[in-house]
């Protein structure tokens, strides 16, 4: 059992959890993920690590409540409660070294896994330009944390309610077109955002790393459900990734595979909402 030490709301349906998991906290690195299962009937949910505190034995995660399981976590799992299963760290860690000037782009929930990468790149001596974006002001989070680890931070929102109006790919393009020497780009967020960013950097031949969140069960290389096409070969996001060369990833296939269980997810969500409504009436 894994105790929730701290829980706070970062935005509408976005919450940060600090969970007691000393084994993972001792060795987890930026870029890796964990798999958790809330209860006996729960699914295995992969979540990227935001922060590990080896002394406190805790792991920080950010969860966006988009489906039944994450909604249930938000509704029913509070500080002091325990989560049934928590395993990791899984996947390969981010390659951190001094590349020179790097751009770290986070879109939506992708800001959470991006933060530790930007932090560690900064620590390794890189000049870090951060670009973070959200649909609107309410959905923006970790701006202060990102500002603390970036030499420059550009904040975007789709609707212009915060920072500059536009997509994260807009300033990326501008920087590359300005001729500034960029050694490497990280882009983490929705598949479509990563696809667009990779397309922007491709003509400039700037190596671009993306982090893929495909559907998976075990997260340890056993199910193969997370396979993605990278450079024409099938790779498992869980053990070969989750980070890959963005210029090689078949994003259309990724998006198609991410949507395969759409109907079942709706069904699960409806059943959960109905059950909640029933509970509220009693």
């Amino acid at each position: 059992m894994y105790r929730i030490l701290k829980k706070q709301t970062l935005g509408p349906s976005i919450r940060e959890y600090v969970i007691e998991a000393p084994d993972v906290a001792r060795v987890g690195k930026a870029g890796q993920f964990i798999v958790l299962r809330l209860h006996e009937k729960g699914e295995r949910i992969p979540l990227t690590i935001v922060e590990c505190d080896p002394e406190a034995g805790s792991v920080t995660l950010v969860v966006q409540e988009l489906g039944k399981s994450t909604l249930e976590m938000g509704d029913h799992f509070h500080e002091g409660d325990t989560i049934l299963d928590f395993a990791g760290p899984l996947g390969e860690e981010t390659e951190i070294k001094n590349f020179g000037t790097v751009i770290c782009i986070g879109g939506g929930l992708g800001i959470a896994p991006l933060y530790p990468i930007a932090r560690d790149l900064k620590k390794a001596g890189n000049e870090v330009i951060g670009i973070i974006g959200a649909r609107n002001k309410e959905l923006m989070f970790y701006e202060d944390r990102m500002a603390a680890v970036c030499d420059e931070l550009i904040v975007m929102s789709d609707d212009g309610s915060h920072g500059t109006q536009g997509f994260v790919s807009d300033p990326l393009k501008k920087i590359l077109e300005s001729g500034r020497k960029i050694a490497r780009v990280w882009a983490i967020g929705p598949a479509i955002m990563m696809k667009v960013c990779a397309n922007v950097t491709r003509p400039f031949e700037v190596p671009t790393t993306v982090s893929l969140n495909s559907v998976m069960i075990d997260g340890t290389g056993m199910c193969g459900g997370c396979r993605v096409d990278v450079g024409g070969t099938a790779k498992f996001a869980c053990v070969d990734g989750p980070e890959f060369d963005g210029h090689q990833v078949d994003f259309d296939l990724l998006m198609s595979r991410q949507g395969y269980y759409h109907d079942e997810e709706s069904c699960s969500m409806d059943a959960y909402m109905a059950k909640n409504a029933e509970g509220a009436e009693q």
């Binding site: 084994d23 993972v24 001792r26 060795v27 299962r37 009937k41 729960g42 699914e43 295995r44 039944k68 399981s69 049934l84 299963d85 928590f86 395993a87 990791g88 760290p89 899984l90 069960i217 075990d218 340890t220 290389g221 056993m222 199910c223 193969g224 459900g225 396979r227 993605v228 096409d229 099938a234 053990v239 259309d252 296939l253 198609s256 595979r257 395969y260 269980y261 079942e264 997810e265 069904c267 699960s268 059943a271």
Partner: protein
């Protein structure tokens, strides 16, 4: 006068069982077990004992059954086999103990597997038989992977007085017994009962432990443990490498069965993990996993479940009983056929293009090699396909253990007699060494490794 045929075991009728996940064979009653036990000749050669990978004293346990001494029968089995309820159900007895039974030929061999199952189930319903445990030796061993090999090592080592901790990656112990073999063939309560029995002996099980990441094998040795056994299995699914294999609707058997067995997708949405099933489901392969997948598909509501296998019926590697049950349930066999392409529409599988095969000269395995017949391509419409063509070694431990010798397939190199690897104090056995094989062979390897580990700990 010896009864010529085996005493039949009652089963759920095929027409009923394809709509549920309950176990298919229903077990012997005590009278039926005694009737079957009476068929044993108690022959002095005991070929069955030599045919058993863990060397159970089969004639002796059968003699006890015959005398209705069921508790003693269980004790005899458990002296050599920590998981009798599992083995009685999933061992390929026809190639092992029963295959060499003196009765075989004119008569059916004694139904040793069924009798083993009877004894184990009798114990589950009656008194638990106590296993004698030697006094504590003060030695500690770590077992990595809670599948058949690891569970066997754990039981054998604990019995010899060593402290044992099993580390399991998933959220339950059991390995392939939990995630792979379906409920209708091996009820999960039964697996859990066998694991609980080990825990009662004092074996500690830690789930959600990613050895290779949270701790390396070397760190286990440098820390609390005097020896380590690696039994992490063949968990890496193989694909065919043909076009269209990443389409939605193409599953590895591991994914398909893990969703259903481990995550209980057959009870979605009560359980959170879903599964999607087409009207026609095609399973590629001819082994037990293929039979399990195709029969699972029927139970999930597929109208038609088809097995595509590249050789002929004679070469099907599955247990005879599984093929028999599959046929009874209406599984269709498209033999001497092999997929060459998966055809999709909007990212989803729509059809499978296959080619017909014929059998040529024998290959390395001694079976005749299937050769494609030019121009014989045909299509099968299907929106779900399950690839059950085998698994490779689970990569986590091999990749994270620098001094561990591997063979060219990435399996761990271990002495076949002792299980010793290239690292002193580190032993390995089961599918991580041999490649995908059977539960009982993994258990046999675990048993041999336990003997060697015990000798190693006694002298170190």
């Amino acid at each position: 006068m010896i009864q010529q045929k085996q005493t039949p075991m009652r089963e759920q009728p095929a027409s009923e069982r394809i709509h549920n996940f309950n176990e298919v064979p229903l077990g012997y009653s005590p009278d039926e077990a005694v009737q079957e036990a009476e068929r044993c000749l108690q022959c002095p050669q005991e070929p069955c004992v030599k045919g058993c990978p863990v060397g159970i004293d089969i004639p002796q346990f059968i003699e006890h059954v015959k005398n209705r001494e069921f508790a003693q029968a269980v004790s005899v089995i458990k002296a050599d086999n920590a998981l009798p309820a599992v083995c009685g159900r999933v061992c390929p007895q026809e190639n092992q103990c029963q295959g060499v039974c003196t009765l075989s030929g004119k008569f059916d061999p004694v139904a040793i597997g069924r009798l083993e199952r009877f004894c184990a189930d009798w114990e589950g319903e009656n008194e638990a038989c106590c296993v004698d445990i030697e006094p504590d030796t003060g030695k500690r061993i770590a077992v990595v992977g809670a599948g058949p090999a690891g569970l066997t090592v754990a039981g054998e080592m604990r019995r010899r007085g060593h402290a044992v901790t099993i580390f399991e990656l998933l959220h339950v112990a059991g390995g392939v017994l939990m995630y792979g073999i379906p409920e209708f063939r091996l009820p999960k309560d039964i697996v859990q009962r066998e694991i609980n029995a080990l825990c009662e002996m004092g074996v500690e099980v830690e789930v959600n432990k990613v050895i290779g990441r949270t701790q390396t094998i070397q760190e286990l040795l440098d820390g609390d443990f005097d020896a380590v056994f690696i039994g992490t299995g063949a968990g890496l699914p193989r694909f065919l490498g043909v076009p269209g294999e990443s389409l939605n609707g193409v599953f590895s058997a591991n994914e398909f069965l893990t969703r259903v067995n481990l995550m209980k997708a057959y009870r979605f949405p009560e359980y959170d993990t879903p599964i999607k099933i087409g009207e026609r489901v095609v399973t590629v392969g001819g082994g037990n996993v293929a039979m399990d997948s195709s029969r699972t598909a029927l139970r999930l509501g597929a109208r038609e479940s088809v097995i595509v296998y590249r050789r002929s019926e004679d070469e099907l590697p599955a247990r005879g009983e599984e093929v028999h049950h599959a046929k009874e349930e209406g599984i269709q066999f498209q033999l001497l056929s092999n997929p060459i392409e998966f055809i999709g529409e909007n990212g989803n599988l729509k059809a499978i293009r296959c080619i017909r095969m014929e059998l040529g000269e024998p290959d390395d395995s001694g079976r005749r090699r299937p050769v494609p017949i030019e121009g014989s391509e045909f299509e099968i419409e299907a929106t779900t396909v399950v690839i059950a063509v085998g698994n490779g070694p689970h990569p986590l431990i091999p990749q994270s253990t620098p001094n561990l010798d591997l063979n060219r397939w990435g399996s761990i190199v271990a002495d076949p007699e002792t299980g010793l690897t290239s690292i002193p104090g580190v032993y390995a056995g089961g599918d991580i060494v041999t490649g995908a094989a059977t539960v009982i062979e993994a258990m046999g390897a675990g048993k041999r490794a336990a003997v060697a580990m015990h000798a190693f700990l006694s002298t170190s």
